[in-house]
């Protein structure tokens, strides 16, 4: 069953008087439980597509269906409710509130509705943090931990409300490659528990960890590659496939 699907999405940015078409009739369908990545050169419209599919940004034409709802017909408030309860986001740059510590930042999205069972939520947050390997950082300031640790905290925050889909916009973009692979390990394990994970990346090594890769170029999806579940030893193999597809379509 499709959890997210886009039908002929078109979006144009206007800069001054000039029109910049960024998405041209993009259609995409993502099944529940998929581990999927959007791959393409910088500026081809990957992020724009991701934000369109998550209802964070509006589109000019087409339709986005999320969990059976047409996002283009929802109000700001309904979209916010949806983001809070059914979606999780991981961004490239740390996006945390400076005035809250790590644990509170992770709890933040869930606390809006779940103030009454704060104890259970804290318990859950600590569990997730434990799994992500940052349990001992709970009380730290966000300025007192490393970039990799912050990104793990970001994943914890994305998971706190037990979302159906996790969207990641270059979640490893600011990390060195060892940290990046560790993050991908975590995302893969989350996916293996049933959560749909959708990433945007320009890094073939990251895309190669996912099981379905959409290749974008100049605002359109130009190719698609499906890979089997990652075993832990077949990274080089997968890389070759990704890179050769890229060469084939000329990106």
């Amino acid at each position: 069953m499709n959890i997210v699907s886009g039908e002929q999405i078109a979006k144009t940015f206007q800069v001054g008087k000039e029109q910049h078409p960024v998405l041209l009739d993009v259609s995409v369908a993502i099944n529940q439980g998929e581990f999927i990545s959007i791959m393409g050169p910088s500026g081809c419209g990957k992020s724009t597509l991701l934000y369109a599919l998550s209802g964070m940004d509006s589109i000019d034409q087409g339709q986005v269906i999320f969990d059976g709802m047409d996002l283009t017909t929802l109000s700001d408030k309904e979209l916010a409710d949806l983001r809070r309860t059914k979606m999780g986001f991981v961004f490239q740059q740390p996006t945390f509130l400076k005035s809250l510590n790590i644990l509170d930042n992770i709890l933040l999205p869930a606390m809006r509705d779940g103030r009454k069972n704060v104890r259970a939520l804290t318990e859950r947050a600590l569990q997730i943090m434990n799994k992500m390997g940052i349990a001992d950082l709970a009380k730290r300031d966000i300025t007192q931990v490393s970039g990799g640790q912050l990104q793990r905290a970001g994943i914890c925050r994305a998971l706190i409300s037990n979302p159906q889909v996790i969207f990641g916009d270059e979640p490893t973009g600011a990390l060195n490659s060892t940290s990046a692979q560790e993050i991908m390990d975590l995302l893969a394990s989350i996916n293996s528990e049933g959560t749909t994970v959708m990433l945007v990346t320009h890094d073939p090594k990251i895309a190669a960890r996912t099981e379905r890769i959409l290749f974008m170029s100049d605002g359109a999806i130009v190719n698609e590659l499906r890979l089997p579940r990652f075993t832990g030893a077949d990274l080089d193999d997968r890389m070759v496939k990704v890179v050769s597809t890229m060469q084939k379509i000329g990106i």
Binding site: A80, M87, K98, P109, R112, E170, G173
Partner: protein
């Protein structure tokens, strides 16, 4: 080059620049107004008293008078320049009919006079000595202002009809605080109405040298001359003339100081935010070798321009307001001739505002020096890492709704940032509450107890005279058997002689009776109870150099007795020099008596007063409310005006500051707002958080401001009030106004401004701030 940078900078931050300029302008406006008012008031009083040639020493006297003895004294006393004796025909209010209504309700001692011969002239509104024709009458200007009399109206006294030919300024009795009011008629008319009232004498002296006043007073007293009535000196005339408007000026000055403080805080906030924003640029400038002094010069230039324009704006606006504020002074005191002095003071005031602002900017700019180029370039900020309130944790929060929690947490985390807004709101609360409490205090019935008058419902003044004793017993008899009267007391004033340590004698009027029934507020000590106790008014205590517990030698019934000073109280009645004691005396005649009474049912006071006024035609019967209104009316009114202006100004300031603050906050908070929205917080959530911040800061500010108002504010106000005679003083707080209305008004205004100021918060585009 600086000019160009400054111009660009201002164009880029129109709102903030405009706001800062506005505060500077308001400060300049108020300082200018105070300067104008002070110069105008003092010089107009000066001119008035010069033109009128006000008496240096006035002794009012009722009863027998030995003119020969007085003239002799005046001729022989070396201090006296000129002496005259004026008559004042005291006529009951019921017998004076102005344009169809009588002055029955007036608590003033209304009476008629002819123009003085040598000095103490009654002036027309152009400052000329009035020459009044037969059949014409000049009426005190206050009756014109109160709408009681108008030009051409008829005044009827004892079948004599007069036409109001004009209004007069009386340099001695203009003020409502001076209880007598002189109407001016011609000599011939004066003679015709003799029968309408009783004559009081104004024994007046001008001295060769005002500095000798004290010596002269002593000489007059020790000569045992006529002294049955209040004694008033030049100084007291000056003060009486200055009080009402002086108080208004004091309030305006107070507000202007606070506005300057608010302007400071705005500058601090904008400048620090600007520095924070510009840190990177400043770092670059430093890195490319511009010197700190150059950067400072640039900002100084910017604020120099703002301050100059602000000052000019404030100055310009002062022209629209000064006429309204000067109205009263012009009417009672006349024009000023010190135009150049006004310009000078205005210029000095504006210069002061300018210097203070630039000095402040300079001191804030000192922070630039501490900033190193690398720090600025690397971090783009001067502050270290985000310090936050460790105590408040989301994981430990069950009670507060999340948006409230986040709002409060943010305030606590960025204390220095919110300190600005807090301080402004504290000051706003302060300037709303203090004038209001002051007004409330002065308007309150019990305030007169600070002024030497017992708090009662009805006051009956029985004048001196042969029948005084019978009249007093008649009144007492009536009150005793009137069931509507709850309690009453008779206080009789008699004249005694005190003997100082060095043997010199001095007159002292002592009010005898039970002073515990309608007690005064005592500045020190308490009311006299035992026969050997006496209480002195502040002025008398100062003059006799006595403190509570000291003893005072008084001649009673031919014998010298030592009385203990039981208390000292403030007094504005009878020239401020009074005394009170509880001993009984039958050795001397009484000068006058006052009967105070309260009623079981206060709603019947007006009827009862009218009834007594009819029955006791020999006495002056007044309700204390009327008494307060007519005595302090002008003052109360001036303070009420000031309090209202303060309220409006403070609320306006709150709106401006909140708008300004919220705008800057939103500009600063784009990133966290985008994060929250991305995480699923709705626009309503964000707005609620900002409202929570505002309200949290506001509640804090209201509590602090109220506390400050009731401590520092009370102290400041009592200092002001002490200057016109009341030595000790407590705020009378109207809880509804101070604790309900004021917070409510502030809250709604701040909340509205917050909602308006943060309406942009919802428009923050998530993707613009977090998309890679």
């Amino acid at each position: 080059m600086y000019w160009k940078i400054v111009r660009n900078d201002m164009a880029n931050s129109k709102l903030i620049t405009g706001m800062t300029m506005l505060f500077v302008a308001v400060a300049a406006l108020l300082v200018t107004l105070s300067a104008v008012l002070i110069v105008h008031l003092t010089s107009a009083i000066d001119t008035l008293m010069k033109q009128a040639e006000t008496s240096h020493f006035l002794q009012m006297h009722a009863g027998e008078i030995d003119q020969v003895r007085l003239t002799e004294f005046a001729e022989q006393n070396k201090y006296v320049d000129e002496y005259q004796m004026n008559e004042f025909l005291n006529v009951e209010g019921t017998k004076i009919n102005i344009a169809g209504t009588t002055l029955a309700h007036s608590v003033q001692d209304n009476g008629f006079s002819t123009q003085s011969e040598k000095f103490d002239y009654l002036l027309d509104l152009d400052g000329h000595v009035i020459e009044v024709a037969n059949g014409d009458i000049y009426v005190p200007v206050s009756y014109w202002k109160d709408g009681i009399a108008d030009l051409g109206d008829t005044v009827i006294v004892q079948d004599q009809t007069f036409t109001i030919a004009g209004f007069l300024r009386d340099s001695q009795m203009n003020s409502m605080l001076a209880s007598s009011k002189r109407f001016l008629v011609s000599e011939q008319d004066y003679a015709a109405i003799q029968e309408a009232g009783t004559v009081e004498y104004l024994i007046e002296f001008r001295l060769k040298n005002l500095a000798d006043l004290k010596n002269f007073e002593e000489a007059y007293t020790s000569a045992g001359l006529e002294a049955n009535g209040p004694t008033i000196t030049y100084k007291l005339f000056q003060m009486l003339n200055a009080i009402s408007d002086g108080l208004m000026i004091a309030v305006i000055l107070l507000i202007s100081v606070l506005v300057v403080a608010i302007a400071f805080m705005c500058i601090r906030f904008t400048l620090l935010t600007k520095i924070e924003e510009d840190t990177r640029e400043i770092g670059v400038m430093k890195a490319i070798g511009l010197r700190v002094a150059d950067i400072q010069k640039m900002y100084l230039a910017k604020y120099g321009v703002i301050a100059v324009i602000g000052c000019m704006l404030g100055f310009a606006c002062s022209f629209f307001l000064r006429d309204i504020l000067l109205e009263n002074i012009r009417l009672f005191m006349g024009e000023t001739d010190k135009v150049s002095l006004i310009w000078l003071f205005t210029g000095l005031g504006l210069l002061l505002v300018f210097i203070v602002i630039m000095g402040y900017v300079q001191s804030v700019l000192k922070q630039f020096r501490k900033l190193s180029a690398t720090q600025a370039l690397r971090f783009g900020t001067m502050q270290g890492k985000g310090q936050h309130a460790k105590l408040l944790n989301l994981s430990a929060n069950k009670r507060l709704p999340i948006n409230l929690f986040l709002g409060i947490k943010d305030v606590l985390s960025r204390k220095t940032l919110y300190a600005t807004m807090l301080a402004v709101l504290v000051l706003a609360t302060f300037i709303i509450i203090v004038p209001q409490n002051l007004h409330n205090t002065i308007a309150a019935k019990s305030f007169i107890t600070y002024m030497g008058i017992g708090n009662s419902d009805i006051r009956i003044d029985i004048p001196q005279g042969k029948q005084n004793e019978q009249q007093v017993s008649a009144v007492m008899d009536r009150l005793e058997h009137d069931t509507a009267i709850k309690n009453y007391t008779v206080l009789t004033t008699k004249k005694f002689t005190t003997i100082a340590e060095d043997g010199t004698a001095q007159n002292l009027k002592i009010e005898l009776g039970d002073h515990t029934i309608f007690p005064l507020e005592y500045a020190h000590g308490e009311a006299p109870v035992a026969p050997n106790e006496v209480a002195l008014s502040v002025l008398n205590a100062e003059e006799l150099q006595k403190k509570v517990g000291d003893s005072l030698a008084v001649v009673i019934n031919g014998q010298k007795k030592n009385l203990r000073i039981s208390g000292i109280y403030s007094d504005i009645t009878n020239g401020g020099k009074t005394a009170k004691a509880a001993f009984s005396d039958h050795s001397t005649d009484s000068m006058w008596s006052v009967v105070y009474s309260t009623m079981a049912d206060p709603s019947l006071v007006a009827d009862k007063r009218a009834e007594y006024a009819k029955t006791f035609s020999f006495a002056k019967v007044s309700g204390i409310d009327d008494y307060i209104y007519q005595t302090f009316g002008t003052t109360i009114h001036a303070i009420e005006k000031a309090a209202r202006a303060a309220l409006v100004i403070a609320l306006l300031l709150c709106v401006l500051v909140t708008l300004l603050f919220m705008n800057m906050l939103i500009a600063k908070d784009q990133a966290p707002i985008a994060i929250m929205k991305a995480l699923g917080f709705t626009n309503v959530d964000i707005a609620t958080q900002y409202a929570a911040r505002s309200i949290f800061v506001l509640l804090l500010a209201i509590s602090m401001g109220t506390l400050l108002a009731n401590t520092l504010g009370e102290y400041l106000t009592s200092t002001v009030i002490a200057s016109f005679g009341a030595a000790s003083f407590d705020f009378m707080i109207n809880p509804l106004a101070a604790y309900v209305f004021c917070p409510l008004a502030l809250t709604s205004v701040v909340l509205l401004a917050t909602l308006f100021g943060t309406s942009r918060a919802g428009q923050v585009k998530i993707i613009e701030h977090i998309k890679e």
